[in-house]
């Protein structure tokens, strides 16, 4: 069971207080009608399947009911950081590959 640091509650909480909400930093296109079917399909359906660094969104459902982001290693489940919506991650794939 993961132990996640909620950046809003400012402390570590057990995984069962959270909902996993998939890949982070997917921005809704400003003008969906101007997108081709392929572009819209990419936004709708296609997600990374990273082995290693993954930026993902979690929801503190049994807590402050805030969404936030997590940088997690999908192999080791190590969590490098959690950060608020709108913030940029400090740990990214490039740094990790050294």
């Amino acid at each position: 069971m993961l132990h996640l640091f909620c950046p809003y509650c400012q402390e570590l909480r057990e995984e069962n207080e959270f909902h996993y909400r998939g890949q982070a930093h997917i921005v809704r296109p400003k003008d969906p009608e101007s997108l081709s079917d392929k572009e819209w399909g990419d936004y709708l359906f296609f997600r990374n399947n990273s082995k290693g660094i993954h930026h993902e969104m979690w929801y503190h459902v049994s807590g402050c009911r805030r969404f936030f982001n997590v940088t997690r290693n999908t192999v080791t489940y190590e969590i490098y950081e959690t950060y608020k919506i709108g913030e940029t991650p400090a740990v990214t794939d490039k740094e990790e590959t050294e």
Binding site: Y8, Q10, G63, C64, R65
Partner: protein, 208 residues
């Protein structure tokens, strides 16, 4: 105008002397399974409970609320403040739960709306949740059976957390040494109560 509206309400008298009747979610509860019970339970009936939303970065909002409550909103995560009239719990950034035992929710809501301008929200949730208190020698053990949160070391007096309790979610507040507030959504109150009865069985439970 239709004649229906002039229809006399004959059944009115069947209300106990015209009065209405209110019930808390756990009004039916009574329990005593031990002489010297190590877990003590109480449901505090009919507290006013209001959700207050607004920006902690908005000085007008903070000032307006302070004027009504008589103290500043606790803006640090997981903190609370209590006065003679109110408890206020931080719930989320920009969200607080106001609790009062002796003031009508409509009165609190009206005072807040009178003072506040701009972007804010006040929602009466008084009947939507209930306040339980839990204390006694074995309160720590019962909470450890129920909550994954580190109640023993991470919840000093005054702190408030929203967390899981068995498979429910509630607001847990360490109100005084060895005494906890559990604020539970109405529809989950019975489940939480039955869980507490079960978890307390080995220590003894009494309702006051």
């Amino acid at each position: 105008m239709s004649d229906l509206t002039t229809f006399e309400f004959a059944a009115r008298a069947q209300n106990t002397q015209g009065a209405t009747r209110r019930e808390t979610p756990l009004h039916h509860v009574s329990h005593q399974n031990a002489e010297a019970a190590a877990v003590v339970f109480n449901e505090v009936p009919f507290c006013a409970q209001l959700t207050l939303r607004g920006s902690p970065e908005n000085p007008d909002f903070l000032a307006g609320v302070e004027k009504v409550l008589g103290f500043a909103l606790p803006v640090q995560p997981l903190t609370s403040h209590a006065s003679d009239s109110y408890y206020v719990f931080w719930i989320s950034p920009g969200e607080w739960l106001i609790l009062a035992e002796n003031i009508e929710p409509a009165v609190i809501e009206a005072s807040l709306r009178a003072e506040l301008t701009g972007h804010f929200a006040v929602v009466d949730v008084s009947a939507g949740q209930t306040l339980m208190t839990l204390s006694g020698e074995a309160v720590q053990q019962v909470l450890q059976k129920s909550c994954g949160y580190d109640v023993e070391a991470s919840l000093p007096v005054g702190k408030v957390v929203t967390t899981t309790f068995a498979k429910a979610t509630l607001v847990l507040h360490h109100q005084a040494e060895g005494k906890y507030f559990l604020i539970v959504r109405r529809s989950f109150a019975d489940y939480v109560w039955r869980w507490l009865v079960d978890a307390s069985a080995e220590y003894g439970l009494t309702v006051v």
